[in-house]
Amino acid sequence: MITAKNLTKIYKTYHKTGNIITDLFQRQYKDKKALDNISFDITEDELVGFIGPNGAGKTTTMKILSGILYPTSGLVEVLRFTPSEKEYAFLKQIAFVMGHKNQLLWELPAMDSFKLNKEIYEIDDRTFKNTVNELIELLQAEKLINQPVKTLSLGQRMRMELIASLLHKPKILFLDEPTIGLDIFAQTTIINFIKEYQKRYNSTIMLTSHYMQDVQRLAKRLIMINHGRIIFDGLLQDLVAKYSQQKMVHITLLKPLPKDFETPEEIKCEYNFPQLRINTQKEHIAGILSYMLKKVEFTDVTIEDEPIEEIIKKIFTSSQNTVSPPK
Amino acid sequence: MIAIYLAILQLFTYRLSFILWRARNIFNLVFIYFLWSSVFVNRPSLFSYTQEKLISYILLITILSSLILSTRTIDVGADILSGDIMNYLLKPFSFFKLVISRDIADKLINVLFSITEIVIFLVILKPNLFIQKDAASYFLFFLSLLIGGIIAFFISLNLSFLAFWSSEIWAPRYMYSIFLWFLAGSFFPLDILPKFIYSVLLFTPFPYLIFLPSKIYLNGFTNALFIPITLSLVWCVILYFLTKKIWNEGIKNYSAFGR
């Protein structure tokens, strides 16, 4: 459904030297390579998490896939269209929701924006009514649609934005930081909605977010991007398997630790009776557990993977060091 | 001095805006110049002005507008609405000194560019100009400029002070600018108007901003100008006390809301 091949995007930016005369008469331009030869494929009914630090190229990629920006070089094909040509048949099948940007008529109730979209996307009356009701029900937004958009809170506005963007049942939904700036309840509402929506309508969703909980809860597939290059593209569980050698063992003790309790150096311990946390390599787990069984009495043991945030942070930091920013 | 340097720096940050703004002033001048030139074709004088004097009037008005009518007192309105003005009042310098120095910096830049544009204009179009020869008239001319500047300053400041009571300060200022455009003499000398209308105008502050100084320059001092000059001084004094009163009331009203 979505194909990117050798996609590169270079921005031209002005470079201020601080010297009044040159800035006035001889402006200097700098090329910034936002995307460096990236390639990936996304098929139907996938929910892809697209993560990377600020400036990594996530939003640029999504804007190119949706047709807002033109690629500098490379091939982009979405739903068998070239996005930058912005053919109406293409635009009618996609939707783009940006977290901190407004697409609704500001001074009027959201319902007016919905009616506008109804005409723009040529939705017939009955489908429109049904869709609006479904979405309102999923998002618990019945009372909100008739208030002026400017009077809504950020979380409420995001819900309205989502409804407006989904009225035409797009095949592909681009979500750029949809939960940014929202409190935890609003975030949860939106994330749950996206999950439910994808289940019901089998659309392809591409999601960027800074919040790992979003990505973890929604995406099975992850694309990690940094400095305009893709550094990981695969399933979330493979990420853990490939990059994480560490496990966390969490023991709830019955009695305090004996004084002769010792652990080998390479094993990190955190002891706060009755909790004992041990961070260790996967290979050592059997050893640790047998040691524990001998030495201590405990009521509970859990073994967890290293948190995804830690894994991802590690991957990004190492990519920072080995993959230098393109000039 | 620092205020001036900062003002220049600010302008260059928006250099395209700045260039375009100056260009607009030139267009306006071109329009008015050709308007009057056309009127004087085959006509030695009209409304007791010769072509020479009227063109000189137009050019003079252009420079004087940039000197007297340009102001940064509009920022005061924004400062009041945003609450920033409280910061200024807490600092150990006079707020008014700051406003005045901002204004002077702005006026200096405006005048500089205005004169440059006029010079370019003169070089290209080479109109005949009238040059005042009487020294005493010059003295009076500069005096009337000062008065005009003060009047303009106070009026604009008071329009900004409206912010103490309402956030809709845009509308009154807009209305003022429209009346100013017509009644200050920025595209025709006020004394071509019928005598009755002219006399009524003399009781408003509008003629004393840029028209009166220009008149003094063109005609030299005559007894007929005695009354207008006196009236301008009267306005000066009235506005001074009015401004002071409004400021005091405004501050009182403002602080009461604990902003």
Binding site: Y11, N54, G55, K58, T59, K63, S66, G67, I68, L69, Y70, S84, K86, Y88, A89, L91, K92, F96, M98, H100, K101, N102, Q103, L105, E107, L108, D112, L116, E119, I120, Y121, E122 | L16, S17, L20, A23, R24, F27, N28, V30, F31, F34, L35, S37, S38, V39, V41, L46, F47, E168, W170, A171, Y174, M175, I178, F179, W181, F182, F188, L193
Partner: protein
């Protein structure tokens, strides 16, 4: 086509609703414009009745030049008001949302903010125009038709100007000043174009075709045109309008958007 009209209609009604919410500001602005118009009108009356002729035109004719200017200027402002709000659209990134919709962005950024109150001001202009036109001594049907035709052409040229302004906005966001310069140029033609000497006159007439937009209709009405000027004007108008559309499409390819 019908769909486009429907969308245009919706945007216009929404624009009216929004304007109604800000009616105090809208009415102040409108009153200001009316006062300015009245002042200018009075001045022209006053001046030209004293001088009898202005660059060879009678008071009646001068007034027609002036009223034609006001009519086209107001009609343009009425239709293209949304262009004045373009800068915030680009800066906040809201433009992206517009470009993603399956309709021509002009429906939103060019004519999406039709100003209903400006429509009301057109009525007095139109009425006054008719009054003064009827007082022309040697009026012919042909001239009237030419006048009307080039009035419409003037609005098309105004559209082209605004499209160019939008394109510049997409590239540099410096919309406001360019718009004001455009307004200044048109204002220079509120009085007969003959008042300018060459080469300025030809520049205004054909160079930046404000002359064709505003001065030409009136000249046609007075029967003052040669076939040469007539044909040149049509060609220049067509070229200018096509250029503006080309410029817009090019600007979009260079669009860099905002935010990362």
């Amino acid at each position: 086509m019908i769909r486009n009209l429907k969308i245009f209609w919706l945007y216009s009604t929404f624009s009216a609703k929004t304007a109604f919410q800000h009616r105090v500001g809208v009415i102040s602005f409108l009153s200001g414009k009316m006062i300015r118009f009245l002042f200018s009108l009075l001045f022209i009356f006053f001046l030209v009745s004293k001088t009898k002729l202005f660059v060879g035109y009678s008071l009646n004719q001068t007034l027609i030049f002036f009223l034609t200017f006001n009519f086209i200027d107001s009609a343009a402002q009425l239709l293209f008001r949304e262009v004045y709000r373009f800068r915030p659209l680009v800066i906040t990134g809201e433009l992206d949302g517009v470009l993603l919709k399956p309709f021509h962005p002009f429906l939103r950024v060019l004519v999406g903010g039709v100003d209903v109150l400006d429509a009301i001001t057109l009525i007095p202009f139109f009425a006054l125009l008719i009054y003064f036109i009827l007082r022309i001594p040697s009026l012919t049907i042909q001239n009237i038709l030419l006048y009307g035709g080039f009035l419409i052409n003037g609005i098309c040229l105004a559209a082209a100007f605004h499209i160019i302004i939008l394109s510049i906005g997409v590239l540099t966001t410096e919309v406001d000043n360019i718009t004001l310069i455009y307004r200044d140029f048109t204002k220079m033609l509120s009085l007969p174009i003959d008042m300018y000497k060459e080469p300025l006159r030809s520049f205004l007439m054909f160079g930046i075709p404000v002359g064709i937009m505003i001065a030409l209709p009136s000249k046609l009405l007075f029967g003052l045109l040669t076939p040469n000027v007539f044909i040149t004007s049509i060609i220049i108008s067509a070229v200018f309008i096509l250029f503006s559309l080309y410029f817009w499409n090019t600007a979009l390819t260079k669009y860099q958007s905002v935010g990362s």
